[in-house]
Point group: C2
Chain length 239, copies 2
């Protein structure tokens, strides 16, 4: 059944935006009484009957269910900004895999350092990718891609999570060695092409982050978050 996101719920009706209405009318050619699923972006799926009047649509709620795709742990990726369009793939794949939030981070070795205006454009683009990927993978929420922040600010915020994993190219704990019991919020850091520098690793250690390895093979900076998130989902029983 076609899926949409909307939090515009008024009484027993949900309203969609113009793009989705057009999609229903012109691409899907739906008729009065056809059913869609509308996710409220807050973890609930509503089965609705479309009611069409001219080119306007309202969707009558006929059933409501908890969305069953959301993982039991809130996971945030702190990703050092990579070069080119690698972040696009990271956002898309991590959304499919169940990420809650992605924070681009500026580290010492980031080669890509866009100015404020370019970065603002990128953030809009990343959120659009997350939205599309959330729809396609049937997520119950739309992951938020936050504005870029300094490494220090990222460490401060991440340290509030129940657990923070810091993936370091020079090695650390194995993912399977960690105990994930009673963890509700988990964040993880991935470096850019050049990895992290010593001072950054030291700051991570001072904040009790777990220094982690992804094994002996050198993973590209866009492969590492996808591999790490897949394993974290598995180890927290969310895959």
């Amino acid at each position: 059944m076609p899926r949409f996101f909307s939090d515009d719920i008024r009484g027993e009706y949900i309203y969609l935006n113009k793009d989705d209405e057009n999609h229903i009318l012109k691409s899907l050619r739906m008729k009065n009484g056809d059913e869609v699923i509308i996710c409220d972006t807050n973890g609930f799926d509503f089965t609705c009957e479309v009611q069409i009047t001219g080119d306007r649509i309202r969707c009558k709620i006929v059933d409501m269910n908890k969305n069953f795709t959301e993982p039991s742990v809130d996971i945030t990726l702190y990703q050092a900004l990579p070069k080119g369009d690698k972040m696009d793939m990271i956002v898309q794949k991590c959304t499919e895999l169940g990420i809650k939030k992605i924070v681009p981070v500026l580290t010492d070795r980031c080669i890509s350092r866009p100015d404020e205006k370019k970065m603002a454009k990128k953030i809009i683009r990343y959120n659009k990718i997350a939205f599309e990927a959330a729809k396609q993978s049937q997520r119950g929420i739309i992951p938020k891609i936050e504005n870029i922040m300094s490494f220090k600010d990222a460490v401060d915020i991440a340290s509030k999570d129940d657990m923070t994993l810091f993936f370091y190219e020079k090695g650390g704990n194995k993912l399977s060695e960690i105990n994930y019991d009673n963890i509700n919020s988990l964040s993880f850091f991935i470096g850019s092409e050049g990895g992290f520098d010593t001072e950054e690793v030291n700051l991570a250690r001072e904040n009790d982050f777990k220094i982690m390895s992804l094994g002996n093979r050198i993973l590209r900076c866009e492969t590492a978050p996808i591999a790490a998130l897949s394993c974290i989902m598995l180890l927290t029983d969310n895959m």
Copy 2:
């Protein structure tokens, strides 16, 4: 240290191809006595001293070590051919993650059905991607991308492995429920955009393949092999 692949070993010397020689001379600007690592594509790394005569190079072996990046299990991906260039990413990422072999498979729901000539070109391209990714990720072998085969042939060959996992979009076992003890060769099947049809799943069942799930979220057909391989590497203690 710069890394190369070559199995042209004669006595105490290893010889590189013209491209690598040019790379050493023109990009890296190496001098007599500088060191490189040459992997024999068979799991061994040789530390060598370059000896330059004009524009020719021979590499004198000074040390030899077992390459430490190769996983303990031989893993083959049987991937139903996806549309567009998605296979490029699958080949690159799975090579980084430690795959041994990738076999493109033609299933009932494959939308992409290139003719023989086009497919031959694609296979050359995939092997080139695997070569580059193997070098970059410091693999001890170069994964082989085989020619495309029918689903039935793929099932016949995969059934010879110690274990075959068959990822089915309509659900199955969790990866964490399987016992991987004493498994030396493992293969896994991933569908194309449309997934697998019922007859294909039945044939997999008849061959005692384990029908598997990757969780509740819908993963794209290029995300699924990367997520599955990451988890398999973790569960076989290779990450």
